[in-house]
Structures are given as structure tokens and as C-alpha cells.
Amino acid sequence: MSELKIKEKGVVVPGEVLAEGMDFLPSNGTYRLKDKILAKKLGIMKTEGKVIKLIPLSGKYLPKKHDVIIGRIIDVNFSGWSVDTNSAYAAMLPIKDATSEFIRRGADLTKFFDIGDYIVTQITNVTSQNLIDLTMKDQGLRKLREGRILKINPHKVPRVIGKQGSMVSMIKNATGCQITVGQNGVIWLQGDPKGEIIAIEAIKIIEEKSHINGLTDEIQKFLEKNKVTDANEKYSEKVKVK
């Protein structure tokens, strides 16, 4: 008879037996060895009917088509820019996808993006050799000025965003910060300095306790305790003065 050896949502390590018998099917992050199903990564086990899969807890960001990420310009070439994506590979942003402006042949490309600039960008293609192509031609894709950059474990990004962005908009409202979360685990935020600090702390709590139930309530409590009074208005006033 087939049986599960680990209970649902249990933490497993590579080589651990998840199930015995031929009735189960191995999926992402698992493999079959004779009549057993074993884990291939450190992660949390999930079953969907007879399919066993693993949700990884650690590891580098794996680039995926259509992901919106935050990258850093690391080099300027003839044909475009090289961008650090916080994954194992650098990406390429070609001139034609960088801006809708006309760029004259031989123009100085650093006018648009210089080395060290952070950009919000979208992945258009990933090849089998993990060559990554980027684009800036979409809504919300832009160069980032001012603000802070924060790096978190890319596997925790869905929890930071929350269901339909509920978590991140809660932090935004409570601290008055503008926040952009890249799928690669890089987060940009800008706002009142006090609000920024609280937002960073809240994000760190989410990263640390991402797998517990009732996380939203806990973050809400934390934000209420450290509330910035009228941060939103204060910051917007400052911007107007400028």
C-alpha cells in the first residue's frame, strides 16, 4: 500500500522519503527512486490529489518570462545595457526596448541609464542557456530615483505582495511609502524616513515569518503600534514645496 511519510506542509530536506508506493506521482522538486518518492530540495511539501510537489524555501531567483523585476545597470555596451538581476545570470536590455525616444547612432547611452542605476523592468524572454532579455516599454517600467533598495529571499516575494497586493498596499497605506516589489526579491521604497524604516521592518518580519498563519493580522498590529502620524500628508506636502 502507498502512504505518505511526511504530513502536508511539512519541511523536508534533500533525500528525504516523502511517500512510498506507486500510487503517488512526483512533481516539481521531487523524484522517484524505485518505489519511493524523494525530495530534491529544501522546501515545504504539498500534495494535489496524487501529485506530490515541493515549494522551495531557499535558492536564487529563477528568471521567468513576463516577470517584473528590479535590476541594476552593471555595464553599457554598443547595443544596450547589461543588468544585474539578482539571479545567477546578468540580463540584456537592448536599445530598441529601452525607451520610446529616438536614439541617434553613436549617442551617449549613459544619458538614459548609467552604471549603478536601478530600473524597474520586465523580462521578455529567457533562453535555454539562461540569456535574459528585458524591456522598459510597458506601464510602470521606469528608472528609479532616490529611495531605498532592500533585498529579500525571492521565494518570499508572494507573501510580501499578498493576495492581490493586499499586504504591500497595507504597508503603503500605513507608512505612506511608495513601494515596488520585484519578483527577483529586490524591493524599492521611498517615503518619509520614519515611514521607510517601519516599512523595512515590516517587510523583514514578513520574510522571517512568511510561513505562519495569520501573518496579515500580525503585520497590521505591528503597523498600528508604530504608526506614523499623517506621514502621507507630510510627505506629499514636502513634494509640493519642491
Binding site: V13, G15, K41, P56, S58, A90, Q129, N130, E208, K209
Partner: protein, 240 residues
């Protein structure tokens, strides 16, 4: 025939006390500490990341690169010269060969996974401690692997077959000594490392390997438990 009892009072098939910890190095993608008796190994994993110089890149799959080093003050008091030596390069290569059968880097062509193993304190069995620490650190870094690798030294001191030799046993002078390093894939029982110093008969060697495998399975349990601890302890906090 004078070796009747082990110097530190252990049973012949008993390893020294083991202590493990993961996430000991914050900046690394994965890290682990493995302490067995007085031998301490730290392993830090960086990557997968792009590999340079370019001629080292392999477009088929990623490269595993191990760097083993003993700290200058780690031995018995004699300063160990820092930096690569003939010995450390050999051990790095041997550890890489011991770990690569379980590791799958096909999803990371042209990339490298760097593993740095440092030994702040040594008392024999450094490569075994290094392998144990490295395989934990690799799992912690989220690298895809078939299984963890566990490793222990076995051997013979005089006419006794023993597990996990300490330095005093390795340097035993009143009889022949054999020092065998084993690394085992626990799920299949396959050996990924088998090295020997000294002399031993065939029957004794087979017996020693069997004892080593048993010890490795015990070590594997400790490794697994330690990797999970980081996550399970947080679960308990939540329940309170």
C-alpha cells in the same frame, strides 16, 4: 594487541560527539557548521553565479567549485601555512568528486557554485567533516540534489576496527594503523569517496566499510534534523 580500549573511552563503532548548525554565515546563500569531536568545519555556499574566466564555463551544466582550507592556528600548534597547498588542492578535488554525484546543476549552464570550507580547529577527519558541512550548506542554499552526503572516517588501530579516528589514534605507534575516508549517499548506500592511508586486509576493509555506512546513516539523521530546525522552531513560536 595492546589496543583494547579507545583513548577517549568510546565504543569501537561510536563516533565522536556531533554538533551542527545551519545559516551561520549571513552573507552566504547557504552555510553550515559541522563539529565532530574537536574537528570543526564551516562551509559557505555562494551561487549559482556567473563563472569567470570565460574559458572555464561549461555550456552543458554548472560547475561545482570547492575550496578547502585549514586555518593557520587550527592544528596541534604548528602553524599551518595559509593558502593553497598540494594537500588542500587534493582534498578540494576529492570533496568535489564526493559531492558532484548528488548535485544537479544542469539548470545553470555557464554558472558556478562556490563552496568554501574552513577549518578553525582540527583533530583528524577534516575532509569528512568538510563534506558533511558542505552538503548541508548546499541544501541550505537551495541547490537541487538527489540526497545529502554523509561522511565519516573508519580504520584500524592495531587489530581493532574503529569508526571516526581522532588524531591520537591516527598517530598510534605501537601497531599498524589504517585510516579510511568514506562518503555515503544514504538513500542508496553508494560510496562517493573511498580513500586509505596505511594497510588493512580485505575482510577488515569490508567490515570497516559496513561500520562506516551505519555511522553515516546516523550522521545523516543529525544533518536532516539540523536543517529543519531553522524552520520548525519558528512554527513553535507561532503556536505560543
Amino acid at each position: 594487541m595492546s589496543y583494547k580500549k579507545r583513548f577517549d573511552g568510546r565504543e569501537f563503532d561510536q563516533t565522536r560527539e556531533i554538533e551542527t548548525k545551519t545559516k551561520v554565515i549571513k552573507r552566504a546563500d547557504g552555510s553550515a557548521m559541522f563539529k565532530i569531536g574537536d574537528t570543526i568545519a564551516y562551509a559557505a555556499v555562494y551561487g549559482p553565479r556567473e563563472l569567470y574566466p570565460k574559458f572555464m564555463q561549461n555550456p552543458q551544466k554548472g560547475l561545482l567549485r570547492i575550496n578547502y582550507s585549514m586555518m593557520p592556528f587550527s592544528g596541534s600548534g604548528e602553524r599551518v601555512r595559509p593558502g593553497p597547498s598540494r594537500r588542500s588542492r587534493e582534498i578540494s578535488m576529492v570533496i568535489e568528486k564526493a559531492l558532484s554525484p548528488v548535485i544537479n546543476l544542469e539548470d545553470f549552464p555557464n554558472a558556478v557554485v562556490d563552496v568554501f570550507i574552513e577549518l578553525p580547529q582540527t583533530d583528524a577527519g577534516t575532509r569528512c567533516a568538510g563534506i558533511c558541512a558542505a552538503s548541508m550548506a548546499l541544501a541550505d542554499a537551495g541547490i537541487e540534489m538527489k540526497d545529502m552526503v554523509s561522511s565519516v572516517s573508519v580504520g584500524r588501530v592495531d587489530d581493532k576496527i574503529v569508526v571516526d579516528l581522532c588524531y591520537d589514534e591516527e598517530a598510534y605507534e605501537d601497531g599498524p594503523v589504517a585510516d579510511i575516508h568514506l562518503a555515503v549517499i544514504p538513500s542508496t548506500g553508494e560510496l562517493t569517496l573511498l580513500q586509505m592511508d596505511g594497510e588493512i586486509s580485505k575482510q577488515d576493509l569490508l567490515k570497516a566499510i559496513e561500520m562506516g555506512k551505519k555511522a553515516c546513516i546516523k550522521i545523516n539523521e543529525i544533518q536532516k534534523k539540523s536543517l529543519k530546525e531553522n524552520y520548525i522552531s519558528k512554527d513553535k513560536e507561532e503556536k505560543k
